[in-house]
């Protein structure tokens, strides 16, 4: 499989490790990624919240660059995914207004819907070197890969399952919990950390009530915001937030490199421990 790849700014900055795990997992699954040449920022929330035209034209430039490559576009970041989809909708509704003709829509694919596809899941299951058994995970979607469904075309936006499917595919146990699609207020975290702390506290406590050892997400803003704002809360035992691809890379490679562990603001020891005991169980059974 060949896909155009739009990493977005977060994956070249604060979520650099997300970029590496996406590339690593795709390589193992025989998915070839071709980075869109000279891509620009999608404008994220700041552009569409303050200037509609810039909010459409920034992601639009990327769509036109991708159209030249011709493949579907893989997008790991939830915000980028939503903005590219929004630009696609505007383009379909009013191509003349946006000064575009002959647009050949490449399909825009969010990472989790790709990795939760049954063929990919089966392939991943075959490749796994170490199952993450005994790890209880609260799958956390946040907002932008789901809402507004008029933009994202997601069908079960209130009860999504892609992350749970991914988590199960590597042998871990998703928990049933309440805050899967609640907002963490990532777009406000710098200007109003107090609001971010409140929402993150609610999310993390709900995950703990359900017995989760960790959270798994596919949004780089959620990952950074939910880990970092826990440091400001008085909570004992903060929960680490992993990327879905991070867990997959660990399970498929059979190891969780120290370099990857170090980027977490909350200790990711739970994953190392689960992998150690999974390895010990396997050696016992031999």
């Amino acid at each position: 499989m060949k896909l155009s790849y739009y990493p977005g700014c977060s994956l070249h900055g604060t979520a650099l490790d997300y970029d590496l795990s996406v590339k690593d997992v795709c390589k193992m699954l025989d998915i070839e990624l071709i980075e869109i040449p000279d891509w620009n920022c999608c404008g994220a929330s700041s552009a569409h919240m303050t200037n509609h035209e810039i909010g459409v034209r920034l992601p639009l430039r990327n769509l036109l660059l991708a159209a030249e490559l011709g493949h579907d576009i893989l997008v790991p970041c939830a915000a980028c995914f939503q903005r590219l989809k929004a630009a696609e909708k505007s383009l379909k509704e009013e191509p003349e207004f946006w000064d575009v003709d002959n647009y050949t829509e490449p399909k825009i694919v969010h990472i989790s819907s790709l990795l939760a596809d049954s063929e990919i899941v089966n392939k991943a299951k075959e490749l796994i070197k170490l199952k993450l058994e005994g790890m209880h995970i609260a799958c956390y979607y946040g907002c932008l890969s789901l809402r507004n469904p008029k933009i994202t075309d997601v069908i079960n936006y209130e009860q999504p399952e892609t992350l749970e499917t991914i988590v199960r595919s590597v042998g871990a146990q998703p928990v049933s919990w309440s805050h899967r699609t609640e907002c963490c207020s990532g777009s406000l975290t710098m200007a109003r950390p107090d609001i971010a702390c409140k929402l993150v506290g609610d999310i993390v406590r709900a995950a703990k009530r359900a017995g989760a050892d960790a959270l798994v997400t596919d949004c780089p803003m959620c990952q950074a915001n939910v880990e970092s704002r826990q440091l400001d809360l008085d909570e004992t035992d903060p929960l680490p937030v992993f990327f879905g691809t991070e867990l997959m890379a660990a399970a498929l490679n059979g190891q969780y490199p120290a370099k990857q562990q170090r980027v977490h603001l909350v200790s990711p020891d739970i994953l190392t421990n689960v992998m150690k005991s999974s390895l010990a169980d396997r050696e016992d059974s031999v």
Binding site: D38, I54, M190, A191
Partner: protein
């Protein structure tokens, strides 16, 4: 319908027309409150989401542009997703923020638009978001020099913040996107 004090005829017609062209039918609201019930930020708002929709239906642009609500809305799209009357409240909030900035109205939550501006300046300059630059720009403009200093240092030592920006080749195209006066606001 006869025109009276509360009829939309007395409100700001340009604003109501704008919403109509953006496909936001504020008049469809029957105040069920589902938008406010699902809003994660509602306790920090000075006007609830439902009130914003109703005041918008009255054409009360001026009052709305001075609220904290328009800046504290996180654009999570929960309200617009769940509205039983399909009112695109998220677009309504976008329109209000853009109008407030275009009209130079002093924002009731100044740090939020300062953040957006710092973010967009970074894109305008490099074509991509440059985190260290945008944080510095935000800190200088907002006066919030000490906030999150510990976190910033921690992220830096973890290699999460790059000191060098990445500049794209198509910067001229990006400048052009930013130089547009907003042709859709002139329709």
């Amino acid at each position: 319908m006869n025109s009276n004090d509360i009829s939309p005829d007395q409100g700001n017609q340009k604003f109501l027309t704008k919403l109509e062209t953006m496909g936001v039918d504020v008049h469809a609201c029957y105040q069920c409150g589902r938008c406010s019930a699902g809003c994660p930020i509602t306790e920090f708002f000075d006007l609830t989401t439902m009130e914003v929709v109703r005041l918008a239906a009255y054409g009360m642009e001026e009052q709305l542009l001075h609220t904290k609500t328009i800046w504290l809305c996180a654009a999570c799209e929960t309200c617009a997703t769940r509205c039983p009357n399909d009112i695109d409240i998220a677009v309504l909030m976008d329109v209000l923020r853009e109008l407030a900035l275009r009209k130079g109205i002093k924002p009731a939550e100044p740090r939020v638009p300062v953040f957006h501006q710092s973010f967009l300046d970074s894109i305008k300059h490099w074509g991509r978001a440059y985190e260290v630059g945008l944080i510095a720009g935000y800190k200088v403009r907002s006066g919030d020099l000490m906030g999150d200093m510990k976190l910033g240092l921690k992220m830096f030592t973890k290699g999460k913040l790059s000191l060098t920006p990445h500049s794209i080749k198509g910067k001229a195209e990006i400048k052009k996107i930013f130089s547009g006066k907003g042709k859709e606001y002139e329709r």
